[in-house]
């Protein structure tokens, strides 16, 4: 029992980290960024390149991965979102195409073979009969730290409140002196950074491969559908619902149906409560 709680908390922390960047862009920009999974891939491969191939310090590798993710987010905003003038369908489709292009790019640069990342923090310990690596523990702690600081940033800072304003009412925000364009750009940058950092941790759980962008995208989609867009706390809670459901399914029921449970949850929520469990249209 204790073991399930520990493993559930660890996995959920990772899922929350994966989903939060996606939620952010969905709430503020009102856009489904289907290339979100590609941020994770860029982050993971960047970390692999800098830390494992070039031998740079691990922390520097994570930072460089984050910087690249931020850059990818900003470029996407400048080169895709602005030219398409907020046409939602066009942005969704172009991000889907972009994700496939990035996948092909990764194959070109790194080949098809999957790669395993070195643990960011090596070592392992036993807690209540469950093996816990320091790596995964770090991932969870970092995830919590990022989520809390993001929450405080949005609640307490001027910029954060401006983001909130844009997500609620773009025109109203513009009237009150907030430049939605700058706020959007900032959001895309933050989302890219969060995605890339999540990618480093996701890849250190699993592996790097050119098709690795699909799985986290599905996780993020699941969290957003079940939670509804807009709430960081909601994202956190739903990540835990999905994470725990998965750990329980794997440990107690049928491991081969792991993914099926998540999909069924999504469909059930949509039928019963289409706006999601914590659905609001703005971030808070």
């Amino acid at each position: 029992m204790l073991q399930i709680i520990i493993q559930g908390l660890l996995l959920s922390g990772l899922y929350a980290l994966i989903a939060v960047g996606f939620t952010l862009i969905f709430s503020v920009g009102r856009v489904l960024n289907l290339a979100y999974g590609a941020y994770l891939m860029i982050g993971g491969y960047a970390f692999f390149f800098f830390s494992q191939q070039l031998g740079l310090p691990i922390l520097l590798g994570v930072i460089l991965a984050g910087v690249l993710g931020c850059l990818a987010g900003l470029l996407k905003y400048r080169l895709l979102v602005i030219p398409l003038k907020g046409d939602h369908v066009a942005i969704e489709i172009s991000t889907l195409i972009l994700a496939v292009v990035i996948q092909a790019g990764i194959v070109l640069l790194f080949g098809d073979s999957p790669k395993v990342l070195l643990p960011i923090v090596p070592g392992v310990t036993q807690i209540a009969g469950a093996s816990v690596t320091f790596n995964i523990l770090t991932a969870t702690l970092v995830s919590w730290a990022i989520l809390i600081s993001l929450y405080l940033f949005i609640k307490k800072t001027h910029l954060g409140r401006a983001m909130q304003a844009v997500s609620m009412d773009k025109k109203g925000a513009a009237i009150s002196g907030v430049n939605p364009d700058h706020i959007n750009m900032l959001t895309w940058g933050i989302s890219g950074t969060l995605g890339a950092v999540a990618g480093v941790f996701f890849a250190s759980y699993t592996q790097l491969s050119p098709s690795m962008w699909v799985a986290p995208l599905i996780i993020a989609v699941a969290v957003v559908i079940v939670g509804g867009i807009g709430s960081i706390i909601g994202t956190l809670i739903v990540a835990h619902i999905i994470g725990f459901m998965e750990v329980i399914a794997v440990a107690e029921i049928a491991p081969e149906l792991r993914g099926v449970f998540t999909m069924l949850l999504i469909i059930a929520v949509l039928i019963i409560r289409p706006q999601g469990l914590f659905g609001r249209e703005e971030i808070q």
Binding site: Q3, I4, Q7, L10, L11, L14, Q52, V107, L108, G111, D112, S113, P114, K115, V116, L117, L118, P119, V124, G129, A130, S131, V132, T133, N135, I136, F202, Y205, T206, Q207, A215, E246, V247, V250, A251, A254, P255, E256, L257, R258, G259
Partner: protein
């Protein structure tokens, strides 16, 4: 009389013009180690054959068709080779579902085709059921069923015999491959090796965190974990190493078959053992295969630095296909070529002992251990001392210092099976 000579001369000219060269098509992924192994093995064989005068005096050329390991792209690639490039012979480094996808095209076009990677027994079953349309097809790797069967002996001789383990928990991916192997293992592990299966845990290949699965495996109280994974095998083994799961694990881990495994896992691969088709990493080579590897390493500097088993299969297999075509008068008469291909038999010796054999089973020849036929499948041997052919598989183990060696069968072993240092 003159007219007749003129016509036949014309016919000869036309024939030489039309068939001035032999065209080989490669089908497989151009960006995976698997695909590249087959491609490069075939390239080296072609170079050597051309240097020796080609096939019946005709030079051999090769064209490639990338599948990017996608089944639909596999169909398109096969069509491209058959109808746009009009190749005479196809060599394939395809994975299971890609081979299955182009198989109906092979049956339609009737182009001599040699598979070097997929070992799916279902394809050999198709040869059994439909020998007519499957006549052009050959697979020169021992089928997965034969691999699994010999693995049972490893269980009896090493896992039970040396380590004294009596029960296992099977941790298998939920794929067709996982299911087939699991079925074979559970059927035979108990009665033949005396190892009891306590539980079979099937997992979804997209599983992110294996910690709950390892906990579940530990709770069964079994002596060791039997891993069956192909798709994301590195995830399972690297989490096993990172979590330092206090329970031995062995089995099938396709990710560990190449020499890049150590580099790709960043060292999180020590202690992992897997069955492997022959010749595996860490496998001692006979002089002929060794000289192939030397040529390979002089020619290619990018990965894979060492060809996988299918690279050897492609190298020897392509030469055999050409030799069969020489006797059959080309690839045109598929039945004749197929009959000649069956007769191909290359025995490679090391220190005066049979080491590797590239041959095929007779159509009605029954293999004694499994009691079934393997038409058009590579010849293998399931009983020590392996005097008829090489064993269908070997077990290799990666040590914690990054070295790798063969641990079973003993005749081919270069190192001993050990358990990881963190397992008591």
């Amino acid at each position: 009389m003159i007219k007749v000579t003129a016509t036949s001369a014309l016919a000869i000219i036309c024939a030489t013009m039309a068939a001035a060269e032999v065209k080989v098509g490669f089908i497989g992924s151009l960006s995976s180690d698997t695909g590249l192994s087959t491609l490069r093995g075939a390239e080296i064989a072609i170079e050597e054959l051309n240097a020796a005068g080609g096939m019946n005096g005709e030079q051999i050329v090769m064209v490639t068709a990338d599948t990017s390991e996608d089944p639909t792209e596999g169909v398109k690639a096969y069509e491209y080779l058959a109808e746009t490039e009009e190749v005479d012979f196809i060599i394939s480094g395809s994975i299971d579902d890609v081979s299955l996808a182009w198989m109906p095209r092979m049956q339609e076009f009737q182009i001599p085709t040699l598979d070097t990677w997929t070992s799916y027994i279902g394809i050999i079953d198709m040869v059994v059921e439909d020998p007519e349309t499957m006549a052009p097809y050959f697979m020169n790797i021992a089928s997965d069923e034969a691999l699994a069967t010999l693995y049972i002996n490893f269980g009896a001789d090493v896992l039970k015999g040396q380590m004294g383990w009596e029960s296992t928990v099977i941790l298998a991916e939920d794929t067709a491959f996982g299911e087939a192997i699991t079925g074979l293992i559970t059927d035979a592990l108990g009665p033949v090796a005396g190892i009891k299966t306590t539980e079979i845990i099937k997992y979804d290949v997209n599983t992110v965190d294996f910690a709950p699965l390892f906990s579940r495996a530990q709770e069964t109280g079994a002596d060791f974990i039997y891993q069956v994974s192909t798709v994301n095998s590195q995830v399972v083994s690297s989490q096993y190493v990172k979590l330092q799961v206090p329970m031995p694990m062995t089995g099938v881990n396709v990710g560990a078959l190449g020499l890049e495994y150590w580099e790709d896992t960043g060292g999180a691969g020590g202690g992992i053992s897997t069955l492997s088709p022959v010749p595996s990493v860490g496998f001692e080579l006979d002089p002929v295969s060794q000289s192939f590897v030397d040529t390979y390493q002089a020619k290619y500097t990018s990965r894979p630095v060492m060809p996988h088993f299918n690279g050897f299969n492609a190298y020897h297999g392509l030469k055999q296909a050409m030799a069969a075509a020489e006797t059959a008068g080309g690839f045109g008469d598929v039945k004749a070529w197929s009959a000649e291909m069956k007769k191909q038999d290359l025995v490679l010796e090391k220190d005066g002992k049979l080491w590797l054999r590239y041959g095929f089973w007779g159509d009605d020849e029954v293999e004694e251990v499994t009691g079934r036929t393997y038409p058009h499948n590579a010849r293998f041997d399931l009983t020590s001392p392996y005097e008829d052919a090489q064993p269908s598989m070997v077990v290799v183990q990666w040590k914690e210092d990054g070295s790798v060696g063969v641990v079973y069968p003993f005749e081919y072993a270069t190192t001993e099976f050990t358990i990881p240092s963190w397992v008591k």
